[in-house]
Each structure stands twice: as structure tokens, then as C-alpha cells.
């Protein structure tokens, strides 16, 4: 696979950043997430990257970093402000995330977290963000950090149970999540926890009880590895699109029985029509598997984000956002699968299967979000006259 780099664009937006990822991952867990930033990180996150912002309470705030505090390295203000708010609002934990300027200031966030924790006597941890990496990095760090702090060594549940890992709204919209939750309980597993939507900190505490973890996004691979190492829980990687859901279900049963994890590795076949997929690596590799059922065997993937190394195959592309490279990549396909904003760099006549991705197009296509699980994918392909 090739690794491309050229982070600039004149047509496409950029993906959500690591600070948004942290906030999204921790949103429902009852903590206070503090982004050490002047202003933009919180408004960007709450406007474009967080569909729950209007309706669901959560304590995500910024430190309101000023120029003077940045120049003078005044970190005591951050500590004092966090302690004051936490004493009053009693969050379950405090999570600190750095913005680009705080990163340049060389803030030692781990030291500040220890200071806050010492003063408050509630857990406080720092995430290594910089506003430069993508949301996947932030989600990944936040999942592991919160699990390290709160997951307890409970025995496996008496009935066969499953954790869903990587379900943030940045990757998985409400209709799809609802379908996945129903699907997860339809083949003999009890749903133990969904990390981290429709969930709570108590669910994080009980993650060890599950017999197997399903990794829905590359943002949860680190958490899956951590839970495997600490509790011996195997994991399966994949997102249940179309009839690939049936294969995934059998992989999960197998993993729960054998204790062996099953990664997702994209392999292209030489049969069938050519499909080009762009997006988060687990999503597009899973969709590629699902499309084989419909005659699209020659799939190629382009993941413009981190986390592609473990999933993408030899002929796929991974790396940073590169408008020209995406355009070339999409030119020769019989079918394109991507967020609808990628139509801007797609050949206009090529059939396009929309896979709205909040981490990319924000709230633009939230209303168009739907489940492509089971029959859902078939129906969408029929709309494009592809089945």
C-alpha cells in the first residue's frame, strides 16, 4: 500500500480533529472534558462534530486560554479553574486535552492532571492531543484512558455477552447504531456495553464481563488490544454492513468460543466490478466485504486517516488527506462508496453509494444517515440500479 501526504485542499473539508474525538468518546460518561484552548475547539466540536450537543447534557468545556497565559506559560489558571468547576459540578472524572497552541507552549498535561487529581481526589487524566491528529487518535486515547481508570476485573458473565467498541457518533449515526444494537442481540449474545454511545461509566466498569468485543471503528483497536491483554477478551474487527453482518456474527461466536481474535484485513479479488471506497478503514474494509455479495469483488480502499496500517491491503492507499490523490483514485471505478462530499472529486457519472460520515461532513448529511445492515445495503444499491 502507498502512503500519501499532502494535507491541503480546495474542495474537500478536513476530518474532525483529535480534540473532538476525545470529547465525543467521553461524552456520556459523566466526566468533565477540558480542552486547553482559546475558543475554536469547543465551538467546532459542538457545532459540527457532536449531534448530541443540543439534547443531551455533558460537560465539555474549554479553558479559554488567553495570549498572556500562553506567552507566560500560566498553567496554574487551568488547574485552579478545573478544580473550582469540578468541586462545584462533581464530575466523575476530569479529562484534559491539548489544542495546537497549548501543544506549542509545551504544556505538560500529565503533570497538570496529577496536580488536579491531588487537589480534587477524583480521577484526572490527560490525553496526548494537539488539534493536528484526526479524531481517531483522540477517541482511541480516550477509550483506553477511561478503561484503564474505571474497568474492573469482574468475571465473565454467565450468559454469552458482547461489547461493541468504537461507536461514537463521529463514525456511527443514530439509525445505524440502533440497527447494530438490535443485530448484536439477535444471534445469541447479550449486549454487555456499547462504547461509547447509549452508555455510562458503569458500563465501562463492567467491560471485562463480555466474552468477546466487536471493534466497529479503528478508533477502538487500542482499547480492544488493552482489554485482550488485561482480561483475555478476544475481539473481532468489522462493521456489520449488508450480509457481511452474518459473517461477522459467526466470527464473533467463533472468537468467544476459541478466545482467538480476528482482525480485519482487506483482500481484493480479481473477480467482479471495480469499487473504490474512501473513509475510515474499518468502515470501508467492511463495506468492501459486504459488496462482494453484490458482484463488486475488485475493491480498492483509500483511508485518508490514521489506523489504516492494520486493515488495508497491498493495493490500497492510506495516508493524509490529499485531494488530487483521491480524485485519481476515484477516476476508474464502476462504483464509489464514500461520504457524499466526495462527490466533489468524483467522476459525475459513476454510481455513488453514500456513506455519510459525521467526522467528515459534520451535520450536513445527518438526516440522510441510515442503516446499511442486512437488507438496508441491498435497498440502497437498488436505488442506484446496481442490483
Amino acid at each position: 500500500m502507498a502512503h500519501l501526504w499532502n494535507d491541503s485542499a480546495s474542495l474537500l473539508p478536513t476530518y474532525a480533529s483529535d480534540t473532538s474525538g476525545v470529547a465525543s468518546a467521553l461524552y456520556e460518561l459523566g466526566g468533565m472534558t477540558v480542552i486547553h484552548d482559546a475558543s475554536g475547539c469547543n465551538s467546532t466540536y459542538s457545532t459540527f462534530d457532536e449531534p448530541r450537543w443540543y439534547d443531551q447534557e455533558s460537560l465539555v468545556v474549554i479553558s479559554a486560554l488567553t495570549e498572556m497565559d500562553a506567552v507566560l506559560g500560566n498553567e496554574e489558571k487551568l488547574v485552579t479553574d478545573c478544580v473550582e468547576q469540578a468541586r462545584w459540578l462533581s464530575p466523575a472524572f476530569v479529562a484534559l486535552a491539548n489544542s495546537p497552541l497549548a501543544m506549542l507552549m509545551g504544556c505538560d498535561m500529565e503533570a497538570l492532571a496529577r496536580e488536579i487529581e491531588a487537589r480534587l481526589a477524583i480521577p484526572c487524566f490527560a490525553l496526548h492531543t494537539n488539534g493536528i491528529a484526526s479524531y481517531l487518535s483522540g477517541v482511541s486515547q480516550a477509550f483506553v484512558a477511561v478503561s484503564k481508570r474505571f474497568t474492573k476485573d469482574f468475571p465473565k458473565s454467565s450468559e454469552k455477552s458482547l461489547n461493541l467498541l468504537g461507536a461514537t457518533p463521529l463514525d456511527i449515526g443514530e439509525p445505524e447504531l440502533t440497527a447494530i444494537l438490535a443485530w448484536a442481540e439477535s444471534f445469541g449474545f447479550r449486549l454487555n456495553a456499547c462504547v461509547a454511545q447509549k452508555t455510562s461509566l458503569a458500563a465501562i466498569a463492567h467491560l471485562a464481563e463480555a466474552h468477546v468485543n466487536l471493534v466497529l471503528s479503528s478508533s477502538a483497536l487500542a482499547l480492544a488490544d488493552y482489554l485482550q491483554e488485561r482480561f483475555g477478551t478476544p475481539y473481532v474487527v468489522g462493521r456489520p454492513f449488508g450480509f457481511f453482518a452474518e459473517e461477522l456474527a459467526s466470527f464473533l461466536l467463533q472468537a468467544a468460543e476459541t478466545g482467538q481474535s480476528r482482525p480485519l484485513q482487506h483482500t481484493k479479488t480479481s473477480q467482479g466490478q471495480r469499487v473504490a471506497l474512501v473513509g475510515e478503514s474499518v468502515a470501508i474494509a467492511s463495506m468492501a466485504q459486504a459488496l462482494v455479495h453484490f458482484g463488486f469483488g475488485q475493491s480498492r480502499l483509500f483511508c485518508p486517516l490514521e489506523g489504516w496500517e492494520e486493515v488495508l491491503g497491498e493495493e490500497d492507499l492510506g495516508g493524509e488527506e490529499n485531494e488530487d490523490a483521491v480524485q485519481d483514485f476515484l477516476a476508474a471505478a464502476d462504483l464509489i462508496v464514500a461520504d457524499p462530499l466526495y462527490k466533489l472529486v468524483s467522476p459525475p457519472k459513476t454510481p455513488f453509494l453514500a456513506l455519510p460520515h459525521t467526522a467528515f461532513s459534520g451535520r450536513t448529511y445527518l438526516a440522510a444517515n441510515q442503516s446499511l445492515l442486512g437488507q438496508g445495503l441491498y435497498d440502497e444499491l437498488c436505488k442506484e440500479h446496481l442490483c
Partner: protein
């Protein structure tokens, strides 16, 4: 609940106890889901045909890019994402130039103006702005480059990003011969109300009013530089107009928007004297405003009213008017007091000391249900003036205007009374209205495609 209990929390203060200009202690901040007020993207894109190029880290870029995306203006916006290496190893100057060159080379047709947005990280690492602009100007001689700034770190210690953007936008006006009987209104987001006394006085004396809000082309925008007189009505345009008046050697007339009859009269009298315009019968205009206020007061009676700073640049002037007329204004959602409002602040402290000031960034306000019970607000019985007031008061009866909405003078007060009457009678879909980015701008959430090429998608 007594105001004494409320004030202990620090984010709710009776105005009698508030200090000037910052009534509230600064700490962690919450961002309310209220998106109507314009940001630097909405403002800069008002210049027809201009292209915006943002250079920053991904986290900062996404907000401005998605703002343009939702407006369907992606074709007028490009971005360059910076890496940690570039910011810390001296590669920044070269990277900024090379990436900007690559993007601009691809753009066709070339824009007449590029607003190049740099940010606080550039300032922190001492990027050489003039050198970058000089190199780009040499490479693209037919494009005018203006350096703009996205520096939220300075929003509390100097001109805001909005003030800076407005100032920089008007730097693009070329020097030109003054055109007789032309007046440019600088820095307003909305076209000036046509029924306003200000507009009517100019029109009746055959003065041409030039406004960015009505420009259709870059040539229209450039014509603003030909105005003999430059007017400002909002404080955030003052810096822009002062700089422009100095550079183009024009007369600057500052007529701050106000809800005080005496101030409106003084403004119009100054306009009349400076431009030698006949002064209309202001007593008659004032009587009509009084009549509108009286009628509205009769209808609203003791209905609770809340107000926020996004609806007008003069929230305390408006609060003063409402209290003078006996309206049941209970609180003003406001974060800081503008120097223009010192007199109104003092008047309210003495005459309406129980009026609550509420800090909109307080993290505690996140918890709306608790907040409502603490403040004793009653949801839909409240009439809110502005989107933040609507959100925090949890009411669907609200006046949906930002930055004055172009209203001005006595006619502006009459129009506001009409808006209040309509809002009190008819509810709006608060959840949808206040979450739309940039009130009055196109939005893909209402059917505008994110890009012309996505029409029908």
C-alpha cells in the same frame, strides 16, 4: 428565589452588584448551541469573488471549513493543514508558501482577492507574515493578498477576530477619487433598514448609500472606496472605518446604533450637520416609536422578557428602553459590557438594579433543567429577544435577529416592536432556528447544496 442566592453562583448577578466592564470571573467556558451570529467566514465571504485561504491546524480549520461548506461556499475556501513538525522545526514559512502556491495555481478563474488567514500558532512561532505575502504577491501579481487573523487567544485582550476581519476586509479597497454624494456604511452584516431615518435622510438628499451587504460583484465592493463619507453604526466596525478613513483621507462619521431617543436624535442631527442634509421632523418619528412601544406594552403587559447580546450591539441600551417603558425584562444574557454602554449600565444600576445579568459561557448553564428551576424562568411564557435568550430561557417565542438585523433609529424601534409582537403571538421552531449557522446565510441544512456541483445530491 432571592437574587442574593443567585449571585453566589457567580454567573448570575443583579446589575446593581455587577462590575464594569467584566461582570463575571473568567474560567472554563461552555459553548451554547446557538449558531446564528456571524463568524469571520460569513463576514469575509461578503466580498463577492474573494477567496479565503486558511492555514492552521486541523482542529482550528474544521470550524471555518464546515462553516463555508454549510453555506455552499466551498468553492471559495481552501485550507492548508499544518503538522507538528512544521510548527516546531522551522519548516513553516516554506510549507505555507508552497501549499498556498499549489492551491492557487489550481484555482480557475483566479480570484481578484485572497484573504489569507493565519492564526495564533503562526504568531507564537513568529511567522514572517510580510515575507509570505510578498512572495505570494510576486508569484501571483494579479491577485491582491490581504493577511487576516484567526486569533481567539486575543479575543479578550484586543480587537476580536470579527473586528480584525472587518478591518482587514476593507484594506482591500483601492485608493480612488471620491465620488460626490456617496456614503459608505462600513462593517454592517445586514443592509440598512430602508425605512430608517438614516437611510431616508440620505435618499431624500440624493445621496447614494454603498453597503457591502448589497454588493453583487467585486467591482461593487471596490466602489465602496469611492465614498466621500464613511459611516459606522456598530462598534466592531470602528477599527475598520478608522483605518480606512485615515488611509483614503475620508470623513468618518460614527453614529452608534442606539435605542435611546436622545442618542438617536443626536446621531441624526450630526448626520444632518456634517453632510448639510435637511433634518426631518424627528418629533413625528419619535411619536410613532412611542406609540409602537405603548401598544406593545399594552399587549405584553407583565409577560416576562429576556434579552441577549447577540441581537444587537447595544443590549443594555435596549434593556434600558424596555425597563423605562415598564416591560417585564428580567435578565440580560451578556458576557462583557461594551464601552459604548457605560451610560446605560450606570442608569440600569441605579434605576433597575434587580435586572439580572447572566454569563452565557458558564459551564453550569449546560444543565438547562436545573438552570430553569434555579432562575424561575417559565419556558414558553417568556418572550426572548435573541437566540441565546431563547435557548437559555427555553422558549419558542423569540425574536430571531442578530447584530441588529439592519434596524436603525426610530424606525428600528418600531420594527423591533413589530417583531416582538409577532414572536409573542407565534412560536418558532427554536431547535432548528438557532442551530442554523449564520442567520440569513444559505444553509445546506435547509436545502442549499454544500457546493454548486452537488446540486440535487
Amino acid at each position: 428565589m432571592s437574587t442574593a442566592t443567585l449571585s453566589q453562583d457567580g454567573f448570575v448577578l443583579p446589575i446593581a452588584e455587577a462590575s464594569y466592564p467584566e461582570p463575571f470571573a473568567q474560567g472554563l467556558e461552555f459553548n451554547a448551541p446557538v449558531r446564528g451570529p456571524w463568524n469571520i467566514v460569513h463576514m469575509a465571504l461578503m466580498i463577492p469573488e474573494a477567496h479565503l485561504l486558511y492555514i492552521c491546524a486541523r482542529g482550528c480549520l474544521r470550524g471555518v471549513i464546515m462553516t463555508a461548506a454549510e453555506m455552499g461556499a466551498m468553492a471559495r475556501m481552501s485550507w492548508i493543514g499544518l503538522t507538528e513538525d512544521e510548527l516546531t522545526t522551522g519548516l513553516l514559512d516554506a510549507r505555507c508558501f508552497e501549499a498556498a502556491e499549489a492551491i492557487l495555481t489550481k484555482l480557475s478563474p483566479k480570484p481578484p482577492l485572497v484573504l489569507l488567514y493565519l492564526s495564533c500558532v503562526h504568531k507564537f512561532v513568529q511567522l514572517d507574515y510580510p515575507a509570505l505575502l510578498a512572495k505570494l504577491s510576486a508569484r501571483f501579481p494579479h491577485i491582491r493578498f490581504i493577511d487576516c487573523h484567526m486569533m481567539p487567544t486575543m479575543r479578550k485582550s484586543g480587537p476580536s477576530d470579527e473586528e480584525r476581519t472587518k478591518s482587514k476586509m476593507y484594506e482591500a479597497l483601492e485608493e480612488q477619487k471620491p465620488e460626490e454624494k456617496t456614503v459608505a456604511l462600513i462593517g454592517n452584516d445586514w443592509p440598512l433598514q430602508r425605512e430608517s431615518q438614516l437611510f431616508q435622510m440620505l435618499a431624500q438628499a440624493n445621496y447614494k448609500l454603498l453597503e457591502l451587504a448589497t454588493c453583487q460583484s467585486y467591482a461593487d465592493f471596490q466602489r465602496l472606496g469611492s465614498a466621500t463619507y464613511l459611516l459606522t453604526t456598530h462598534l466592531d466596525a470602528l477599527l475598520a472605518t478608522q483605518n480606512l478613513a485615515k488611509r483614503l483621507k475620508r470623513t468618518h462619521l460614527d453614529l452608534p446604533a442606539s435605542f435611546a431617543f436622545s442618542e438617536i436624535r443626536a446621531n441624526l442631527t450630526r448626520l444632518s450637520e456634517t453632510l448639510a442634509l435637511p433634518l426631518p421632523n424627528l418629533d413625528e418619528a419619535e411619536d410613532k416609536a412611542v406609540q409602537a412601544l405603548d401598544t406593545l406594552k399594552k399587549e405584553l403587559a407583565s409577560r416576562p422578557i429576556t434579552l441577549d447580546y447577540t441581537i444587537t450591539s447595544r443590549p443594555l441600551s435596549l434593556a434600558r428602553l424596555l425597563r423605562q417603558w415598564g416591560f417585564a425584562l428580567s435578565c440580560v444574557f451578556i458576557d462583557a459590557i461594551s464601552p459604548l454602554e457605560w451610560d446605560d449600565f450606570c442608569w440600569l444600576q441605579k434605576q433597575a438594579g434587580d435586572l439580572l445579568l447572566i454569563y452565557t459561557r458558564a459551564p453550569y448553564l449546560r444543565f438547562e433543567a436545573l438552570r430553569r428551576s434555579r432562575l424561575g424562568l417559565q419556558g414558553d411564557t417568556v418572550l426572548a429577544l435573541g437566540q441565546k435568550a431563547a435557548y437559555f430561557s427555553a422558549t419558542d417565542h423569540f425574536v430571531n435577529l442578530t447584530a441588529g438585523g439592519g434596524l436603525s433609529d426610530y424606525a428600528g424601534i418600531i420594527a423591533l416592536c413589530r417583531h416582538m409582537q409577532e414572536a409573542s403571538r407565534k412560536s418558532k421552531d427554536r431547535r432548528t432556528c438557532i442551530q442554523l449557522k449564520g442567520l440569513g446565510e444559505p444553509s445546506c441544512l435547509c436545502g442549499t447544496p454544500c457546493h454548486p456541483a452537488l446540486q440535487g445530491s
